[in-house]
Symmetry: D2
Subunit: 470 residues, 4 copies
Amino acid sequence: MLAELKGLNEECGLFGIWRHENAAQITYYGLQSLQHRGQEGTGIVVTDGKQLKSKKGEGLVTEVFSKKDIEELQGDSAIGHVRYSTAGGGGYENVQPFLFNSQSGGLALAHNGNLVNATSLKYQLEMQGSIFQTSSDTEVLAHLIKRSGFSKLSNRVKNALTVIKGAYAFLIMTETEMIIALDPHGLRPLSLGLLGDSYVVASETCAFDIVGAEFVRDILPGELLVINDNGIQSEIFSLNPNPAICTMEYVYFSRPDSDIHGINVHTARKNLGKQLAIEAPIEADVVTGVPDSSISAAIGYAEESGIPYELGLIKNRYVGRTFIQPSQSLREQGVKMKLSPVRGVVEGKRVIMVDDSIVRGTTSKRIVTMLKDAGATEVHVVISSPPIKNPCFYGIDTSSYEELIAADRSVEEIRQIIGADSLTFLSVEGLLKAIGRQEPGETRGQCLACFTGKYPTEIYAESMKLTKKC
Amino acid sequence: MLAELKGLNEECGLFGIWRHENAAQITYYGLQSLQHRGQEGTGIVVTDGKQLKSKKGEGLVTEVFSKKDIEELQGDSAIGHVRYSTAGGGGYENVQPFLFNSQSGGLALAHNGNLVNATSLKYQLEMQGSIFQTSSDTEVLAHLIKRSGFSKLSNRVKNALTVIKGAYAFLIMTETEMIIALDPHGLRPLSLGLLGDSYVVASETCAFDIVGAEFVRDILPGELLVINDNGIQSEIFSLNPNPAICTMEYVYFSRPDSDIHGINVHTARKNLGKQLAIEAPIEADVVTGVPDSSISAAIGYAEESGIPYELGLIKNRYVGRTFIQPSQSLREQGVKMKLSPVRGVVEGKRVIMVDDSIVRGTTSKRIVTMLKDAGATEVHVVISSPPIKNPCFYGIDTSSYEELIAADRSVEEIRQIIGADSLTFLSVEGLLKAIGRQEPGETRGQCLACFTGKYPTEIYAESMKLTKKC
Amino acid sequence: MLAELKGLNEECGLFGIWRHENAAQITYYGLQSLQHRGQEGTGIVVTDGKQLKSKKGEGLVTEVFSKKDIEELQGDSAIGHVRYSTAGGGGYENVQPFLFNSQSGGLALAHNGNLVNATSLKYQLEMQGSIFQTSSDTEVLAHLIKRSGFSKLSNRVKNALTVIKGAYAFLIMTETEMIIALDPHGLRPLSLGLLGDSYVVASETCAFDIVGAEFVRDILPGELLVINDNGIQSEIFSLNPNPAICTMEYVYFSRPDSDIHGINVHTARKNLGKQLAIEAPIEADVVTGVPDSSISAAIGYAEESGIPYELGLIKNRYVGRTFIQPSQSLREQGVKMKLSPVRGVVEGKRVIMVDDSIVRGTTSKRIVTMLKDAGATEVHVVISSPPIKNPCFYGIDTSSYEELIAADRSVEEIRQIIGADSLTFLSVEGLLKAIGRQEPGETRGQCLACFTGKYPTEIYAESMKLTKKC
Amino acid sequence: MLAELKGLNEECGLFGIWRHENAAQITYYGLQSLQHRGQEGTGIVVTDGKQLKSKKGEGLVTEVFSKKDIEELQGDSAIGHVRYSTAGGGGYENVQPFLFNSQSGGLALAHNGNLVNATSLKYQLEMQGSIFQTSSDTEVLAHLIKRSGFSKLSNRVKNALTVIKGAYAFLIMTETEMIIALDPHGLRPLSLGLLGDSYVVASETCAFDIVGAEFVRDILPGELLVINDNGIQSEIFSLNPNPAICTMEYVYFSRPDSDIHGINVHTARKNLGKQLAIEAPIEADVVTGVPDSSISAAIGYAEESGIPYELGLIKNRYVGRTFIQPSQSLREQGVKMKLSPVRGVVEGKRVIMVDDSIVRGTTSKRIVTMLKDAGATEVHVVISSPPIKNPCFYGIDTSSYEELIAADRSVEEIRQIIGADSLTFLSVEGLLKAIGRQEPGETRGQCLACFTGKYPTEIYAESMKLTKKC
């Protein structure tokens, strides 16, 4: 499953609110609902119209912010961020939003996505005397904005975006305005809502539900939104014939209660499961899913196939960052970590195990073994997405071919490696049909690059070594 | 649902292991798998045959124990405890296992359950000059053991148990032996396993699966087990015509992957859901369960009724002890806490919402409102257990009639309070049938006191004020 | 110097206050001024007349108590303790005051001193079924009080004191009274003061100055004071022909601004230095003292001898518990720890180095070497007390003869070991004369046992192995 | 006394070492000995020749660095910093050394002093697109270095220094060299030493004694030192006819065991006291000093005057950052904070109280009152420096005239405000004579600006509002 890349296959999350008396608290709850998109660090920047104030730290939202912290973040506008990865740039410094103060005012910046030309841009800027505070690609935007010759901030931002390539959803805040920008392909989800009279923006719509806001609309690919005391202005800064939302947002990243471009994620996943049952009818006694991301698909498979759905695998809810990993020797003695099989459910049964994806294959192999050790007579692995054959350069850390088991192996070869009795991947066509988007074109407005190798943007050599995402 | 009593309706958990080179680590993983039984505090006592060493603290297993702590707990035998409640006796002092050192050796003690005559016994002991370290009922046993005239520890324990009444599973450890005792009604689950050549004991069998141990058998009501270097000796210290395992262990407490007296908990819950569908056929569009405890029952209901099962409610996984509760005003503005509805799933639908139980009714009301706000046209609440009309004195904190909504109200009155379109409880007969125990007698070896008012033990006036459980 | 026994040669400190609206705060400042008597742990117990509430922890007063802690210690009476030693019983459990709750009320207990028959008493009590919570000798008193047949608390305490032997100053507090007891020899200092209308009690008078209280009188040997809402009652529970205050309180333990039995400690130490200059006139260029305890004596020596006093040694003020000790190899390369010599002052000079005492000799040797390395041509060590030839059983951890360099060595032998050009100890007569107490008898009301071997109380074999003091 | 400006009147401290196998540990001990120069934050950067690694934090050296931290700072060269002030720029970000990483390598920077044209420079740089990470004046240097056109680092540094004005001692480190720079007036002390074959550099020579290094020489005003694997190269980058070491380094800042330009600080202070006794002979019974900084001067005064030196004031050693300040009401009731008078020493006596300086006068007033309350019949205040009439712009936070009691008041007016029976300041001539420097010129190579108003550098309007120093 995608989660097997420790902390690497999850996305960052953004939340912002403009002019609301409880800006910091609302942002706290908004970020909390986006916590699944990143658990490594989080921050909030508020403004009271006069200055910007920041609190950030490594860890979960509930670990980083105390009640006192939130109370001290006084102001009526805020942006916040949850960050997923320590790879290639952990530490306090890289936790977002970034806050840049200068004698002419402050600038806060939060980013979800990954730039494909950040290294080149950074090199050019350093040659001109810029000093970078972080190892994050995000900081490049701040320097480009600062160096732009325009006087209006929105013009400086647009100017900067003309040289940036890759996937990005940006939230930018100063003392007097909030700017929202989405890349020309709309690779990452970003939506606009209203809480009373206050605009809110979030990576996923589940954040609106949690804070009681109403969904207004999705941000468009290539759109720049400026919110200030004059209201909200929209502008398309890039004409875009090729929208390409990340397909894995439907398959794995997003929360089941979010809607992406009008499609509920749980429903999409259930349909993926149903489609799998149509494409791969298997004779078996029980259907089970790998918690939590594959439960919906498993239920869909069960419903379509008529084979009962059961809890064959249990996830340990209390395994967090401080969990002491069992030693190799203990693991060989049978000590489990995050997942354990339910013997009473799988013993003596032919089991269909639904998972969202296979990246390295290690976890799939471990789960198959676990189920067989618990008495399953057969284990049929069905995957609710096609084989991931190509690295992603837009925020999912699969940036080299080496770590992808499907890059150069057939399905049968993978089946042997993971030890399953059968292995089925969903077809690309089935995937598109199940998700059900109606956009024109072959890809229906989705990025399918990890399956097909057709990337929506240019890719540079520098990206191939990328270790930092988000 | 039972979880609406904050932290009060969960049980403690016990784990022990005798003579294993990784005693502390194994206990750490065992306790982790029992974490759902108590999140307020945890401790481990080890012995190397010469002395007892302890580490305990308030919080989760992963919060209390660092890698260094576990390494420093050197020894080949251990007992551990997870504790659920701060009510009537929070604080470091009350975290178990208790460790009592004396010049003649140490004694460690861990307890799951609740004694009904502890207050009287404590009063008598204090009158004789005993000093209690804690406000826990558990400590009474230690004093009784210390004051017993017998020289052999097992005889001292048996002697002490003759005056103790109520629900208890005890783990006792000295430098040279481990003693396990279960009350004459067997109100709490306790099982014996083998990890290689080492005996393990745990409140639930899921702990055996996690550490790779094999289940041997359940501890019998009224049984005393002595494990030392001579092996294992069993003795029935109390003849017991009336075994009475807590029914809520099947309905709510235990992990779905545990087996209690040979019955898998997930399967039992799914059967409860199926039985509900038979007893209460409802016309509706979707079935949903309150996560996590009611998912199995909801799936059972869906399977039996043919109505599709959907994720209509999402639980926020990252809400822990440090979560900042939304203020009343924010809550009125719509900020959610632990649960949020999935609009995309329930909007415009007739929803069957399956929950495990209703205690005060507050949470049920909140969920019904939430679902309706999210667009459900009808909400039918079905409960996979009968109405809780009587307090529990054996470890579930429902010790006064006032807090039980069903104590003196009809089903229709409750329905109106929670605002559901219909409300159905499972019948007692249906409950017994669905769980499917084969023991003789009307109650099939289960305690049904909270439903029927027939308590298996004496109850004293002092218990009615009980605030401390476990 | 005495400080060379890490953490072992310091004393505990007591502070109490009855009926003052800021009881916890006042106690905080009082304890702070007694911090030199113990840095390992501290606690405060308050009462509001209805219950006792406690907060304690390992570390300094400023580390253990936050502002919030002090605010939460609501009540108008309090006792507090600073504890010096982890030897033979470290850990949270052994931090005082001890608080024992029972159904008939609470009892808090703080102790400065050391009992010589605690082990025997504890053994007897355990044989009768008592369970001890700590490894502290102090707890014995609580059990004796609890088991006493009398009904009035003061009678129970007196009853308990009849079997206790050794050095003790006790503060006892319940919801309704405070009891103060000093052993029949008055081995430890303890004074009574008044802050407005509120009685305060403290180990040293410096605590009165810090909190703005007035000194009333010293507690008498063998006195029991009961303070409650009826006022204060005094009673001599033991007739005492032989008062024996610890001489090292004057020489080393107490703060220079305290008065013990009417004699200022700084003045006493200065007189010790003057007396040394009379007994041991030495030709030299500068006088220096080992900070902080020997500064007063060094100034006295300088004043009497006419040789200028200089800062020849500097103490690093910021070396605390978390200081990383230099490795042996770094120490050999010259890395200093707590003390460093002032080259500009000692280079090319004949130096008189005044210290308070020599226990093991290790530190003296190190300082002599340090001064010579810094260029001193001669180092003359003068000690403001006689050789310590006998262990102390009353609270100073010199309980075996082995660790006392002077136990079986001549002054000349010690001089050779520490490498000084000359070594002088003060005579016992000089010591008594310099301190200047006017009590009748050979010892002038002082305990001189460590110099002379004449102990004021019985000593039992069990004490010889004592590792825990205070 | 100068210390009355909370945390503002102390200086930062620098330590560096090149090519020593224990670089981080040595730096830890060096910084520890410089802790008196700054307690607000500290950091160490090491290099192993390939990269720079940093650890820093707010608090004391012993609080910020654990043993593990030091072990992880692997490398054979290091620079470290202790920082004194949170004013105008507290927080983790402003703790030094600053570490700037770029694709062409790292640059670490530590600074002691204060620039007088930093605000202007920063404004110019920001106009050119530079983004500052901190609110510290120090960062300006990094940007100037980065933007310099030269290719050799030492040339870039020299280039940058040509536009910087004020007081500075800089330590700069890259993977391959260490650069040391002192401002053209040499306002801050900085010395070079040798530890074995390794060069060390420190703000004060006491750091050499602590780590076992030998003093080589003081860094010259306007000197640039480059240390790399080719050895050490010195260059005077600014011809300087007017050296001006801060006089307060002798009077207050430096540790008594340090030598500044060949003069021992303790000896200088003692001479200041002697000179005071000559300039202001007073009839009195005892001389006492305000600990710790005025003890040497008080001893000098006593020695010269023949009046005995006594410990009339005691400093509470354990008052740290976490100390809970007494409320106004408690302070009025007499609760003391850092200092308490020794009643046994001052009662009924005419007291000469020696202090190093008077800034606001508040503390002096408090101490006089304290001594009189403790029974002193007369209190004569003698100050071992002239009146501070002018703000300092070089690192001591007295940057406005308002806060200086002597700015526009006569000595008699100040005496009345502080309530002393007499008040004497040292004359400027007496000050110069007592310190005893032999440099040519009226000021003997010292900065006397705070006494005389003659500043050695230009001063700009922007400096008058400066709140951040060091």
